[in-house]
Amino acid sequence: MKMQVDDTMQRNNLVSREELQRQSEELLTALLQAIKKGNFDNVYTDDYAQVNDILSDISVMRARQGFSPRETNRFVLSLKQALCDVLEQEHAGTPEVLYKEILQVNSLLDNLSIIAFETYIKGREDVILRQSDEINEISTPVIRVWEGILALPIIGTLDSSRTQTVMENLLQEIVETGSSIAILDISGVPTVDSMVAQHLIKTVSATRLMGAECIISGIRPEIAQTIVHLGIDLSNIVTKATLASALQVAFARLNLQVRSIDRMAAPLLK
């Protein structure tokens, strides 16, 4: 019986033959133990606890490895054919018994496949959750431009969960570095509607509550147009067209000056 099942399942080539063999053996052993107890109906009882655990592990793993739902489910359903074949041989002479047993095996495996499917989906959801967290993290770097000056280039749309991450990262960095000026650069934000503007205003307000100043840079002409057309009031916030001019303001606030070195004096510095 084991042989048959393994054969059926080796059609998948996303995991190694040995791994697959091990998984199906594990599952089969557990399943046989459960069946011995004579319970064919309720897979949510303790008899099937081990089977369910193994099945869940396999399904979650497959979700992470990128198996399709069809492939994952076939792993379970392929048992059906194998078990039916065995039953057919055993009860060849008594069709009534065969029919009954096949029915039982069918419903049992259907239930198991539902469990596999449920955990597969859960595994996928976990993957998605983790990825969206990662995207949030990656897409909001805080750069220490200068002593006391932080810059935060925002790329992509600014929704409320993103704003929260931006605020968290920015404020934490302000505390850690003792920076008194933060520049939010929105050149990479495709559109600024009233929601996005609201999020920007919130970020600026929170920065101010901490005792730091926030400058918004990277206002493209079309963004300036939409801001005015939508009647969004940003007059309380220092805004600049480019990151460079925001930096200039920041330097001025910190009483710093950037000069080009006099060519005649330059050799002396070497």
Partner: protein, 133 residues
Amino acid sequence: MEKIPILRMGPFLLVTIQVDLYDQLALNLENDLISSISKTGAKGVLIDISALDIVDSFMGRILSNIASMSRLMDAGTVVVGMQPAVAITLVELGLKLHGVYTALTIEKGIALLQQQFTLRTSGQEEDTSSQDE
């Protein structure tokens, strides 16, 4: 009765809030601070809230009140060391700390008070609020 100590630092007063502020204690602080300003003729108040995990609308009102009252007595108010989580929460709550200035550290707070004091004495009145609306 529990009290929050008020320290004198030159022309300024320093209050470090380190305990959970329930309402009566916060109201006491307001009273004590205002009478200290009048007694000492302090020109500014620094309120260090770096140990506070929670600032709700009641606490926010106390801070605003202290700022407005000290202002009437010619003293500025700077809130120092607000935690990031508190700042984000206040913004979401919709609370504006009217008339309250903020600074990252006590040093920066003192510098801010000094700068305001110089501005006031030189006759140029500064803008009433650092908070946007």
